[in-house]
């Protein structure tokens, strides 16, 4: 360090009130009390009492979820006849940065497409919920829903298979149409 960089400063002298720090404490408490009044008396708080009150039930401006954009658990969409929409093109599995989608394709029994998935597993513990599978899908078969709380007792339980993903579609299709 150069000599010119060194700057010696005199410590500012404190007044008697400053030396006790009490006025500063009271001033800070004043602001805190003002906020407390706003919360307790006027009800202007941002707290959601979670298990009783859930974000899905709140309007978007007040802490609710915007369902169309939320990136939660995946679902596999069905077409009009209730069949799985996926054509087993492996686009989502290729686009996945976490490599958590495992698909096994097979000859399709239906006339409108060549292939369909007989196995479609997503490891929800490996997934990073980036939404790239949804973006990559050419037939809008895979989508991210607004379900954010998934639990399981074993790791095996958290690998969602095709049936489970289709069930999530049935569960969420009312609130989130395709």
């Amino acid at each position: 360090m150069k000599e010119t960089d060194v700057k010696v400063l005199q410590e500012p002298t404190l007044s008697l009130a400053d030396q006790f720090y009490l006025p500063q404490v009271l001033k800070g408490l004043g602001t805190t009390m003002k906020h407390m009044f706003k919360v307790v008396a006027l009800g202007q708080d941002r707290v959601i009492q979670y298990p009783e009150e859930r974000r899905e039930d709140l309007p978007v401006g007040e802490g609710g979820i915007l369902r169309q954009t939320y990136r939660g658990v995946h679902r596999l969409n069905r077409d009009e006849e209730g069949r799985v929409k996926c054509v087993a093109c492996f686009m989502c599995a290729t686009a996945c940065p976490a490599r958590c989608i495992h698909i096994e394709g097979a000859e399709s029994p239906w006339a409108d497409r060549e292939k369909y998935p007989i196995k479609f597993d997503i490891d929800e513990l490996r997934c990073i919920y980036c939404g790239m599978c949804e973006e990559a899908c050419p037939v809008d078969a895979i989508e991210l829903t607004s379900i954010y709380d998934i639990v399981g007792l074993t790791r095996q339980e958290m690998i969602f298979d095709k049936e489970k993903l289709l069930r999530i579609y049935d569960q969420t299709v009312k609130e989130e149409p395709m």
Binding site: K2, L9, T31, R46, Q68, T69, P97, I128, Y129, G131
Partner: protein
């Protein structure tokens, strides 16, 4: 490569049994190399105190569980009573081989991993990576996307500075500002959720633009938030910034002089607090920043000395107002149109190399990419601002009291996800 005679040569994040890592020692004009495996001349020998003073030294490990080290940083302190003689930060608890992962994934897939670098400013990380790839591949970004990007980045800068302000108050013993800071941050996270569906790991800014367009009515919500937020900054200044107790605790502590800041290649609020007006948004403008009007906040040493902890804190507080100014201009100027350039799904990048830096909330985040052609980069190097800023810590804490260390670490404002990466 030459190391100094003090020989602070050590592994950062390699396998402990890796025999290829070699230390170099320059003692008495004799260059000596030694493997870190053998016991030959390894460096952590205690330094003898000068003179014949009788004093007992103690090695104290601060962290990795210590709450004020902001994550998993371990600092090995050599103390004499209450004062610190030497501090050695130990890293690597959060090392996840990010650079190596980058060399094994296609360019667009690494976006999700940049979120987890400095997890408090995911948007800014995404932007830096996207800009690097775009410049390497020669992609031009639609104008609307540029404005959306700037809005997202500045919102994230506010959110990041709010965390910094809240936790700094917490380190100093003021609990309430922390709650207020997180309440305001909640509004921003809600806005992010409407933009892209995630709150922390955003992956929103993408190569060629942004992944989704803004939802309808988003601009009004943005202005509503700014109208709510801007008066709050003044309130926090009254509550914490000018509080006599807080000023006494931080002013004049951990002073970084101008030349020292430049020597250690600091960036972001750390160097601006020392009086160096270095801001890449203005000095090496990218995106639409040249069209926007904003001030670069520089520390003036109002409370104590230029470049002390209080100055570093103050720069962040004042920058939040500038962020609000930038967002307001962006909302006014934002055109309609495309939000993402049309790109082939399996994008090929021509061979070449590039180094791009962007101004993150914590400093310059740089990405060096070397491409040999094809969809996967050959080499990725990340220059993390927290990592570089942390390097000044041993210099700063020499001679201070142990109780002052949280104040100094908090003011440097590191995120361990980026230090270790």
């Amino acid at each position: 490569m030459r190391f100094s005679t003090r020989d602070q040569v050590k592994r950062l994040a390699c396998r402990p049994d890796d025999p290829t890592i070699v230390g170099v020692s320059h003692s008495q004009d004799q260059v000596r190399t030694f493997s870190l495996l053998g016991g030959d001349g390894w460096i952590d020998e205690p330094i003898e105190p000068p003179g014949d003073v009788e004093s007992e030294e103690m090695i104290v490990n601060m962290g990795p569980q210590h709450p004020s080290t902001h994550g998993v940083l371990r600092i090995e302190l050599r103390t004499d009573g209450e004062s610190v003689l030497q501090a050695t930060p130990h890293l690597g608890y959060l090392h996840r081989c990010k650079e190596k992962i980058g060399e094994n994934l296609p360019y667009y897939q690494f976006i999700g991993y940049t979120d987890r670098l400095d997890y408090l400013s995911a948007m800014n990380n995404n932007l830096a990576w996207s800009m690097a790839v775009e410049q390497l591949a020669g992609i031009s970004v639609p104008r609307r996307a540029e404005f959306i990007r700037v809005i997202a980045c500045e919102l994230n800068r506010i959110a990041s500075h709010l965390v910094s302000f809240g936790t700094y108050g917490l380190d100093m013993g003021a609990f309430t500002p922390f709650l207020y800071a997180f309440r305001e941050r909640e509004y921003i996270l809600d806005l992010f959720e409407q933009m892209c569906g995630a709150r922390l790991t955003l992956s929103y800014i993408n190569i060629g633009g942004v992944t989704w367009d803004l939802p309808p009515g988003f601009e009004d919500k943005l202005i509503e938030f700014l109208d709510y937020f801007e008066p709050k900054i003044d309130e926090y200044n009254r509550l914490l910034t000018w509080n006599r107790i807080f000023v006494k605790r931080t002013a004049g502590l951990g002073v970084i002089s101008k030349s020292l800041a430049i020597d250690y290649a600091l960036s972001g609020p750390c160097i601006r607090a020392s009086g160096v007006p270095l801001d890449l948004r203005r000095d090496r403008p990218y995106s639409v920043y040249p069209e926007l009007e904003f001030d670069v906040i520089v520390g003036r040493g109002e409370a104590g000395q230029l470049g002390d902890c209080w100055d570093r804190y103050w720069v962040k507080m004042a920058e939040m107002k500038e962020c609000c100014r930038i967002i307001r201009q962006c909302v006014r100027m934002m055109p309609s149109g495309l939000f993402r350039a049309k790109l082939p799904r399996n994008m090929k990048v021509p061979p070449g190399e590039i180094y791009v830096e962007a101004e993150n909330p914590r400093g310059h985040l740089g990405f060096y990419i070397e491409s040999a052609g094809g969809p996967i980069p050959q080499r990725v190097k990340i220059r993390g601002p927290s990592f570089v800023n942390l390097s000044i810590l041993p210099e700063l804490v020499r001679g201070v009291l142990i109780a002052d260390i949280p104040a100094i670490i908090g003011s440097i404002d590191i995120v361990m996800g980026e230090v270790d990466r």
